[in-house]
């Protein structure tokens, strides 16, 4: 693709760019960002009019569950990647809780191989321990060699502090970011939602926020001890935000993400036993939602990820206690971010773009998430004011498990380009086609 995206508002947080400009793509890479990159006589250059649109780095979701191998009825790498592209994401990091778990080189290679067929950038995250059992360290070096981008214990948090310490030490030697799901399982046994007045009234077992916060503190202390690159996954409560803010202030190398559900919904969403509001960490309280927003605004929370967790209907059309945890998120993240954070003025559009692209790319050490000249042409062209009504039946994902079905939101990805190729959507107007090139 040799193309010019003309007249859009270019937001490239990594280079502090937010202005009307043209973006030139050549051989799958960004070839230029500027005013009136001249095209009139350029040979074979396709020119697209994207005025009125935002042109931003393709989004990076550092937290998705693609279910392959093992649960292809819920999602495949292909369907998950299609959902990602539809939502504006050009890079996704696949969590290792597959079957078999991504705890060895062959599984990592498999995910990367299948990912390469999708058109977008599918990264693999290795398990910290064998079979994600939290006991013996997995072959992290082998997986790093195979191309694993990070390690995580997501879904099966390591309880034993010594095991976590060793994993952190070993991962830091390999330069791998350590992504942790923070939960003290002894405080959350059989629980299905946040513990508080809502669980008390619903008569459902609750997990206290303390179960998350205590492990956030533990992992911060161990990161300080080991010097690893710690990243806290899906921060859901006020206590975690406070812990991370404090750690950052004291110079600990820690980053974190939250997900749209945690700045949008509270545990009241479970009052009528909607299993699509069941997730882990659970939806918390209004106070927590406010703290998450404050953490996003002041930079404590670096990134927005989705924790995209597709499930089949039969996993959710059951009693609350038997229902699977998790919701899909790739196709609603952009519009929830705009509607819940940008429209009310909590984040600027540029800050929102940063948390969806350059920040997660930086945490994972990628050359993506930016429109810098020479970097891969991963671009999302979106309309922040386009109204969308969420219709789960139209998702590219196989998962329909969203609590946002029927919501009317703002913000829609119109076209998504990954490594210079159009992977989703289309351009509304093709203004002109040049015949010769002039530099």
């Amino acid at each position: 693709m040799w193309a010019l995206l003309k007249g859009g508002r270019v937001i490239d947080p990594a280079n502090s760019i937010d202005k009307i400009a043209d973006v030139l793509i050549e051989d799958g890479r960004i070839a230029g960002v500027g005013k009136q990159v001249n095209c009139s006589e350029n040979d074979g250059l396709e020119v697209y009019d994207v005025s009125g649109m935002i042109v931003a780095p393709g989004f990076v979701d550092m937290h998705v569950h693609l279910r392959e191998p093992g649960a292809e009825h819920k999602e495949t790498i292909k369907s998950g990647a299609a959902a990602a592209a539809a939502g504006g994401f050009t890079t996704i990091l696949a969590m290792p809780n597959t079957d078999p778990a991504a705890d060895s080189k062959p599984v990592i290679e498999y995910v990367i191989c299948r990912g390469a067929e999708t058109g977008i950038n599918v990264l693999a995250c290795g398990a910290m321990t064998k079979d994600m059992a939290g006991q013996e360290m997995a072959e992290l070096g082998d997986m790093a060699e195979a191309g694993a981008s990070a390690v995580s214990d997501d879904g099966y948090p390591i309880q034993n502090s010594l095991v976590m310490r060793r994993v952190m030490e070993y991962a830091s030697m390999l330069g791998l970011p350590v992504l942790t799901h923070c939960e003290d399982k002894s405080l959350t046994a059989d629980a299905v939602m946040n513990e508080g007045i809502a669980s008390t009234v619903a008569g459902l077992r609750g997990m206290p926020a303390a179960a998350e916060v205590s492990m956030v503190y533990r992992n911060i202390l161990l990161a300080e001890l080991t010097g690893c690159k710690l990243h806290i996954q899906h921060v859901s409560c006020a206590g975690s935000v406070e812990a991370i803010r404090d750690a950052k202030k004291h110079g600990v190398m820690v980053t974190c993400e939250t997900c749209p559900q945690y700045f949008t919904l509270t545990d009241e969403a479970l009052a009528q036993y909607d299993t699509n509001a069941k997730m882990n960490p659970p939806l918390r309280t209004k106070t927590d939602v406010e703290a998450i927003k404050a953490g996003l605004a002041d930079g404590t929370i670096d990134a927005i990820a989705t924790d995209h967790a597709p499930h089949s209907l039969e996993d959710k059309e059951v009693e609350m206690t038997n229902a699977a945890f998790g919701i899909v998120g790739l196709e609603t993240a952009l519009s929830l971010t705009i509607s819940q954070l940008v429209e009310p003025g909590i984040l600027t559009l540029a800050q929102a773009v940063e948390k969806l692209s350059s920040a997660p790319a930086r945490i994972l050490g990628l050359e993506r998430g930016t429109l810098s000249v020479g970097s891969p042409a991963d671009i999302v062209i979106f309309d922040p004011s386009a109204e969308v009504t969420v219709d789960a039946s139209q998702f590219k994902s196989k998962g329909r498990n969203t609590p946002f079905n029927g919501w009317t939101l703002k913000g829609k990805a119109q076209a998504v380009i990954a490594s210079g190729r159009l992977v989703s959507g289309s351009f509304a107007v093709q203004s002109e086609k040049c015949s010769t090139r002039k530099d």
Binding site: I197, S199, T200, G203, L204, R205, P208, V318, N322
Partner: protein, 313 residues
């Protein structure tokens, strides 16, 4: 109000004062039927009721069956053991299968809070919650209120103290919603480990000192300590529980002189309640059982029978 404008009875939290009043009034006329020599009216003839129990139960299930049979409904009973549930059939499929057989009302007990909500959305027929996890047990709440009403002639202005394992108790939750809607003051008392988090945000008074909670109470409702809680670290020993939270004669002296003592059963005599109190002059525990049948008749009648004279139909 002379009709219930609802398909299901899922809990007392979402029920209005006038609905509760209607059910209690109807239960009083039902009780009259139970006092007759021939305890049968044809009101629900041709209706089919299914009790679907995912948890063991003696009194609630029998009580619903008695209520249905007294109203001449046909009753079929399904429990986890010996049904397709044991073969792994999903709750949804079990419900749809029963619906296809023409069940008019489902009486559901389930260990999962909210399961009756799921059922109510799945089937066209009525669903009555016969106890769901730690959530609600509306017919128990109603029969407790009927019993208090019989003893005291009113609910408004009374002080009702509920003692014991509040955390796991659906009886406590249904009682607190029902009683507070009817104008009573509800006090909840138990060890801190068995009081659910943030319970004080509800319109109740919360105590860990049972003596203080009983002071001046009109009614003391004693909850069962379930055997499986006894060894899960909620309290150090049965001995200590009985000493600190058990209801005995001496402790009961702090209540009003005409205090009414209730227990939803089954009782652990000597643990949460001493035998002399359970069998004593203030206890109305067997009246609760009788009232349970009357209340459940009222629920079935109001949901399925709709109109018509109960006495002569």
């Amino acid at each position: 109000m002379d009709k219930l404008e609802r398909k299901d009875i899922l809990g007392l939290q979402d029920m209005s004062q006038s609905e509760i009043q209607l059910i209690l009034d109807t239960a009083v006329s039902m009780k009259e039927i139970l006092a007759r020599p021939v305890k049968k009216v044809p009101t629900l003839r041709g209706k089919t009721i299914c009790t679907l129990f995912y948890e063991p139960s003696t009194r609630t299930r029998t009580s619903f069956e008695m209520a249905a049979k007294t109203l001449s409904a046909d009753v079929t009973s399904i429990s986890t053991v010996g049904s397709s549930i044991a073969k792994g059939e999903s709750f949804k499929d079990t419900l749809l299968t029963l619906q296809a057989m023409g069940i008019d009302a489902f009486i559901i007990r389930h260990q999962a809070g909210g399961a009756p909500y799921f059922a109510a959305q799945t089937v066209r027929g009525s669903v009555i919650n016969a106890g769901d996890g730690m959530h609600e047990h509306p017919s128990q709440g109603l029969l407790d209120m009927l019993t208090i009403l019989e003893e005291k002639g009113r609910l408004e202005g009374l002080v009702v103290t509920i003692v014991g394992d509040i955390l796991h108790s659906r009886v406590a939750r249904s009682n607190l919603w029902g009683l507070t809607k009817m104008g009573a003051t509800v006090r909840l008392a138990g060890p801190k480990t068995l009081l659910p988090l943030e319970i004080e945000k509800l319109p109740v008074e919360v105590y860990t000192d049972v003596d203080a909670a009983i002071e001046g109470a009109d009614v003391v409702n004693v909850l069962r300590i379930q055997l499986e809680r006894m060894n899960s670290g909620f309290f150090p020993s049965i001995r200590e529980y009985a000493r600190m939270f058990g209801i005995n004669k001496e402790r009961l002296r702090r209540a009003k002189p005409d205090v009414t003592v209730m227990h939803p059963g089954p009782m652990n005599r000597g643990i949460e309640i001493t035998p002399d109190v359970a069998d004593g002059e203030f206890a109305v525990i067997t009246d609760q059982v009788t009232n349970g049948v009357a209340v459940r008749m009222a629920l079935l009648y109001l949901l399925l029978g709709g109109s018509g004279n109960v006495g002569t139909a």
